[in-house]
């Protein structure tokens, strides 16, 4: 019956596929122009990152900066209406689709999948952080070049007198 086929499929669930973001992370490392990352500027980015995290988990309420307050209020309204729907949907364990007495390998597959989700979320947010840090670094590098150029021009002018 169908159960036989499903049982066999469980083996695939145990090996999680590489998230797509991993390949672009590797590209970042290979093509990196930065040697050092300043810790300071990165912290201001975490507010945006938290914004990313919040959009993925609408039920968590973090207090953030004023520009994000509009975000939160609209999210709150959406949450209140969808909370009831979410509460009804959440207790339905997909494992029940396969009956009550399911093989242990299917349970293990579900556990492995649950463990893989926070890992992939963390990877995505780390990737965003790295990207922002890289942008900031290149921006600051340009600024430094400009400052150096204008400083040299300033030094040249008196010497031409």
């Amino acid at each position: 019956m169908k159960e036989g086929r499903l049982q066999k499929r469980n083996a695939f669930g145990n090996q999680c596929k590489k998230p797509a973001g991993l390949t672009s992370l590797q590209l970042l490392e290979a093509g990196s122009r930065m040697n050092r990352i300043h810790q300071g500027p990165v912290e201001t980015l975490t507010a945006e990152v938290q914004g990313v995290r919040r959009r993925k988990n609408p039920t968590e309420m973090d207090t953030v900066g004023s520009e994000d307050r509009e975000h939160t209020s609209s999210l709150e309204r959406w949450d209140k209406t969808s909370d009831n729907a979410v509460e009804k949907v959440l207790p339905q364990d997909p494992l029940k689709w396969f009956g009550v007495l399911v093989p242990q390998s299917l349970r293990q597959a579900q556990q492995s999948f649950k463990q893989a989700i926070p890992v992939s979320v963390e990877l995505a947010s780390l990737q965003v952080q790295l990207h922002d840090a890289q942008d900031l670094y290149s921006h600051l590098l340009e600024k430094k070049q400009q400052l150096l150029l204008s400083k040299n021009r300033g030094r040249d002018v008196p010497s031409s007198d």
């Binding site: 169908k2 086929r5 066999k8 083996a11 007495l101 399911v102 093989p103 242990q104």
Partner: protein
């Protein structure tokens, strides 16, 4: 009846010859080696053409999917079985009908579950196993409780005697449906065992070990799968079929078991089952317990063909064809999903 071999061929000789011919067409190891090397499902179809299956997929629209292959494989087996059933006299006819009752139980449970989740009956009937079809299938969605279901519909089907233990006024929900399924199967297995014993002779000699193993395997699997669910130990004990080697002490111990280690200790008292538990794990490269059970079942079913003039060959043929179908579907899934790491996990038969 002594010397029943002398009169067996009068009624069932043609059919035994036919089933042995079908058995000769079951895929061998070399066929599986060829199938495993296929890269696409079209290759698989080509290789299957050179076996007994012939061009059974010739009229299917491309692209080929694994579910289409599965359905066609089943259809071929059902055609062969129906031919044999149509030509059978009693008592072989009753025996063959008994083989179909397990598929009927699966179909009834599928229909009830589908109705519970508000699926249309026209969607569910094509998903039923064709060997287990009965006339009242379309009417199953009318009932709301098991009692109503029984009184209105199932009392006219051959499954009626199996419902003695599981009529209850509780509403149908997932837990109860599972309990109904396993109670029905228990009643079915025990009465199949009694019928084989009544038939006596070589049939009893060949069928009873197979059915005992089936009963014990179900008891062990139910126990292991019930860890972590809301099934209580008393309820669990009521689901164990009692026609196996584990009855009564093994079943009592299984009913008390709390984790996998305790189940393993119970199985250690029985040398056949102790062997099956060795080397079992869920790491890649190790077989699961269900795989070991399937292997043992295949071994027992092959033994049935070594003896003549008994009905066990028909049961074993159906089970071996089912295993072959599972093997081909496993290989086809590995190919279709391009995940070939475990493609060798099929169970070779001959």
């Amino acid at each position: 009846m002594p010397f029943s071999e002398f009169t067996f061929n009068v009624d069932s000789g043609y059919l035994e010859g036919l089933v042995r011919g079908f058995k000769g067409g079951i895929l061998k190891r070399t066929d599986y080696v060829n199938l495993v090397q296929c890269d696409t499902l079209e290759d698989l179809k080509l290789h299957l053409q050179s076996t007994d299956y012939g061009s059974f997929l010739a009229n299917e629209a491309s692209p080929l999917t694994v579910s289409v292959i599965d359905d066609k494989l089943k259809e071929k087996m059902v055609v062969e079985f129906s031919h044999m059933r149509n030509h059978a006299y009693e008592p072989l006819a009753g025996f063959l009908d008994f083989i179909t009752y397990s598929y009927m139980i699966d179909n009834v449970i599928l229909l009830i579950t589908g109705t519970l989740h508000q699926r249309a009956i026209s969607e569910l009937v094509p998903k039923c196993h064709p060997l287990g079809s009965f006339e009242q299938m379309e009417a199953v969605n009318i009932a709301q409780t098991p009692a109503e279901l029984y009184n209105a519909i199932l009392v006219d089907t051959p499954l009626a005697p199996f419902f003695q233990d599981c009529i209850s006024e509780q509403d149908l929900d997932e837990m109860n449906i599972e309990i109904i399924r396993n109670t029905l199967y228990k009643a079915y297995l025990e009465s199949f065992f009694n019928i084989c014993n009544q038939l006596g002779g070589t049939t009893a000699e060949m069928m009873c070990p197979i059915l005992e193993f089936e009963a014990d395997r179900r008891a062990i699997i139910i126990t292991i799968n019930s860890f972590g669910t809301e099934l209580s130990k008393e309820d669990r004990a009521k689901l164990f079929p009692r026609c196996g080697k584990l009855h009564p002490e093994g079943l009592a111990q299984l009913a008390r078991a709390d984790d996998y280690e305790q189940v393993k200790n119970v199985a250690d008292y029985y040398p056949d089952y102790k062997q099956l538990f060795e080397g079992v794990g869920s790491n890649p490269g190790e077989k699961t317990l269900e795989d070991r059970f399937f292997e043992h079942e295949v071994k027992l079913n092959i033994l049935a063909f070594l003896n003549q003039f008994h009905f066990g060959v028909f049961y074993s043929y159906v089970k071996l064809k089912e295993q072959e179908c599972r093997n081909i579907v496993w290989i086809a899934e590995c190919i279709a999903q391009r995940h070939r790491a475990k493609i060798d996990n099929y169970i070779p038969i001959f």
